[in-house]
């Protein structure tokens, strides 16, 4: 699989797919998309990078261990629920703020934080499985 063309294009492809996964994640509240599917896209981007350039390169690029990424996502998801404690409503209630940033109204919410948590859980979980499988094959 390590042809020159593939190795040359894989980083661009990976970057593009990760960017697209974030786009899918952010549009997910009202349109098709969301944390889960976004996470899958990002994980497959990492898998492609791993096939092209080796697992070690992916681990270097990720910086954190995939399981740690997954755990941070779980942490973030629970934290998204805990915001409701300060608002005095039922756990996991969606809370919204609409600040104006550079003249544009941006909708920020606890569901978004939760969704980012889901995204990280999926990226971390699937990437750790995929990397483990790719590593095993090369042994």
């Amino acid at each position: 699989m390590r042809t020159v063309i593939f190795r040359f294009t894989a980083p661009y492809l990976t970057a593009l797919m990760v960017l697209f996964s974030i786009f899918v994640l952010l549009r997910g509240h009202n349109d098709p998309g969301g944390g889960f599917i976004g996470g899958l896209i990002a994980a497959s981007a990492l898998a492609i990078y791993g096939i092209a350039c080796g697992v070690a390169a992916v681990r270097r690029a990720l910086w954190f261990h995939p399981m740690a990424i997954s755990a941070s996502g779980l942490f973030l998801a629970v934290v998204a629920g805990i915001f409701s404690v300060f608002a005095g409503t039922g756990f996991m209630t969606g809370l919204w703020v609409f600040p104006k940033i550079f003249g544009t109204e941006v909708a920020l919410s606890t569901p978004l934080i939760f969704d980012i948590g889901v995204y990280l859980v999926v990226v971390g979980g699937i990437a750790s499985i995929a990397l483990a499988l790719e590593e095993r094959e090369s042994d």
């Binding site: 261990h65 399981m67 740690a68 997954s70 755990a71 941070s72 779980l74 942490f75 629970v78 934290v79 629920g81 805990i82 404690v85 005095g88 409503t89 039922g90 756990f91 996991m92 209630t93 969606g94």
Partner: protein, 554 residues
Amino acid sequence: MMHGALAPSDYLVIAPVAICLLFGAALLMMRKRIDWQPWLAIPGFLLLFAADVLLLLKVAAEGPQTMMMGNWKPPFGIAFTVDMLGALFVTTAGFVGVASAIYATFSMSRTERRYGFFPFMFLMMGGVSGAFLTGDIFNLYVWFEVLLMGSFGLLILGSEREQLDGATKYCFLNLVATTLFLITTGYLYGVVGTLNMADIAQKAARLENDGAVLTIAVLYLVAFGMKAAAFPLNFWLPASYHTPRFVVSALFAGLLTKVGVYALIRVLLMLFPPQHADLATLISWVAALTMLVGAFGALAQSDMRRLLNYFVIAGIGTIFAGLALTGGEGGASATVSAASAATQAGGTAPMTGMAAAAAPLVPGSDSLVIGLSGAVFYALHSIVIMTALYLAAGTAARISGSSSLRAMGGLWRARPGLAALMLVFLFAVSGLPPFSGFWPKVILVRGAFQAGMPWLGAVILLTGFLMTVASARVFALAFWRNAPEPAVAGGPNAGFAPAGEPSPMLAMLPLLILAVFAVVAGVLPQWLVALTDVAARGIVDPAGYVGSVFGGVS
């Protein structure tokens, strides 16, 4: 149901789950910092236990508590509803969690901690707590899955060949049981059109007792019976529980089977009372056979941990015996038998403790409540004592280098403190006074006689006798007799302990904590009986549970 702003104490309903997941995630993030892990995990478990106790106190003071996730209205959103039953179970689970975490700190090797013992344990505790606290039957399924994921991780800690063998059996059987649970929940949704347990309790009461509902009840019985390791679905437990680390076995034996028992009580007794009455004969047979299989299996084993596996099964049978008691034939006979029970209790005046323990049960309560109260008491006792026995067995096995009763010996001389604690736990598990196993058995035997099932009471007593014999065997072989020759060849008794042997006092601390429960619940059972009695009444008449979910609306 709550309107307007919630007080911080209202969040106690969700706190055990949130604490488990937060700490589990945080520990997983710092997986490589193995020296930090126990210092974060033990405070985490203490915090969990504190939240559990506060929740129990709140439920005891104010009755069942409900929080709707995301403020969705009752039958549609996911409800977390805690009544006395759930609060008692979750508090006991937290208690056992603290002891196990301390024990694990001193018994786990560094590589096992690196592999992630504490994160998995928090994940499993989160699943267990969620199962005890949720008020939505599909959500119950989800928590079953969460605790299974945590338990899979714990089961293969160390990745030994034998562990993978045990884990395969455990995983497969548990997946079958959860799948059955899920399918049955689908049927249930088709029949009643709701997943909220309070809503189901109301709607199922209005349904005709026809084949469909009975089928659902039977399927739930099979699914949860498999989880709880009741005969004839108990074979997976002895096949898998002896392979992981002792502390993992302890957690599994203490908690996981009891989650099945809890789910059975919640679903069969609270949601389907008429179907439960139809199935009571079947459950009584299952209970009797489970008890006997457990007791005879324990007698046949020569490995300490395998023997304890069968003790778990015998305990499950005893709990099921309490669930097999029905309300008797009509209110009149129930009051008569209650009155006769009262005179009987008066007749045994010398045993004032007995009368005092039974006193809250007698006025106006039928044998259904008595049996359920005894079953809940026994389940709580069993959570603590089975965990304690496995932990004590782990310490004993580490000291003597083997868990086979043939190779062990001389522990009484080497470790008198451990031997004394082991004796307490063995007395408790056999149901001998003055420890915690005695009172629930008294309640259950009395309930069985009162419900017109003296044979079931006799089986409980016979099982107690057989377990006493098996316990005596453990104590005589592993502790009392002198160490057998091959062990002596290794050096003078305590000398062959592994180099990483922790100081005895710290390793004993969790056992001491658990022994406190065995003694307190054995000497002063009234407070606990009063609580389990409230729990049993809350299940038999779920008006408080339903009211907490729907408020004044319906």
